[in-house]
Point group: C2
Amino acid sequence: MTDRVVRHFQEELEQLKARLLEMGGLAEDRVRSAVRGLVERDEALVDRVLGGDGPINHLHIEIDSRCFKLLALHQPMAVDLRAIVSAVKINTDLERVGDLAVNIVEAARRYMRHPPVKELIDIPRMAEIAQSMLRDALDAYVRRDIALAHMVLNEDDDLDSLKTQVFRDLLTYMLQDPSTIEPSLDLILISRHLERIGDHATNIAEDVIFMVSARDVRHHAQEMTE
Amino acid sequence: MTDRVVRHFQEELEQLKARLLEMGGLAEDRVRSAVRGLVERDEALVDRVLGGDGPINHLHIEIDSRCFKLLALHQPMAVDLRAIVSAVKINTDLERVGDLAVNIVEAARRYMRHPPVKELIDIPRMAEIAQSMLRDALDAYVRRDIALAHMVLNEDDDLDSLKTQVFRDLLTYMLQDPSTIEPSLDLILISRHLERIGDHATNIAEDVIFMVSARDVRHHAQEMTE
């Protein structure tokens, strides 16, 4: 590749990263709004999340298209190749996070038809952890920062224990008072959706580690050839 | 590319397809065993699924490695490029299906500590649909068959209505008899895991349509440039 072509490729790669960060920001906003809508029983906010997946879907297609162009026109090697294939996967993960925000507001809408089961404390905490995992995973991608990616993997344990906590609490309510069964089920589903957002952040972090080191951490470190 | 190099590339691509089919077969087996373990309350079978993710994880790493080698060494274009990037994504989907089989048996184990809530009819049906969607989606990939891929997208609606059916049935049981709350929760979770297996098959089918036609069906048809 000539210098000019290399520079052009690097510029395109920077734009790709910027778009992924933008997509991550949109996904995170949607999760935040979904959970705020639930906690504040704000129907207008919930409806806004429900109808607002246009921008993220648009960006999803644009990012995929950028990745395929980069692969086809520049035929990158080694870490650049892995960075672009990772971008395709990360793009998919972020799009799913957007879908999970929709799943959360669908459950929130049903939940709001009943009186509140309890004050919601653990679910907003789960949302905060999931959002921060997502942010850190994307920062780790952009900065090719393995240490930060490993931090994301550790945070997933906190999310998991909160999910178990939510489940146990709500089970107690349901056993004591059958009128709480239906709304409790929706809170349990919401906590599972948040757990899955953490799973997507974990996927991204694993992709970052693979991209930078070409070492596959997903099933406990087997070295991969380039 | 010389004829010999082209032939070699096509052979490698065939091997990649064969490995993906093998991976799909393993994933499907695990789902089948998980649900049979649940229905027949077969603890040994459940434990076998729980400890048996080695082969699928191994294949997951091997397939990823094959894809990266093909991209780096052969620098494919157009439909071949899309076929290989799709393979990376499909590989991820199949690995997740394997994980979902583990989630199913984890819930099945808890379920089996209680007397049966009801005869299980809808859940095995959901499992059959999800498995057949997975099989069809992979066949569609291997044969580059868009019509078959569209069939998979339609099947997802059946899975969705069964999931709603399972939820309503179990809610009735829970409201009538609180002793069924805990085991019913696990059946609801299992039905959600099966729904997600259908989602993975849907992802694969969408990838196939994109691969063959370079048309993105995920957010209602926006044409993509190559």
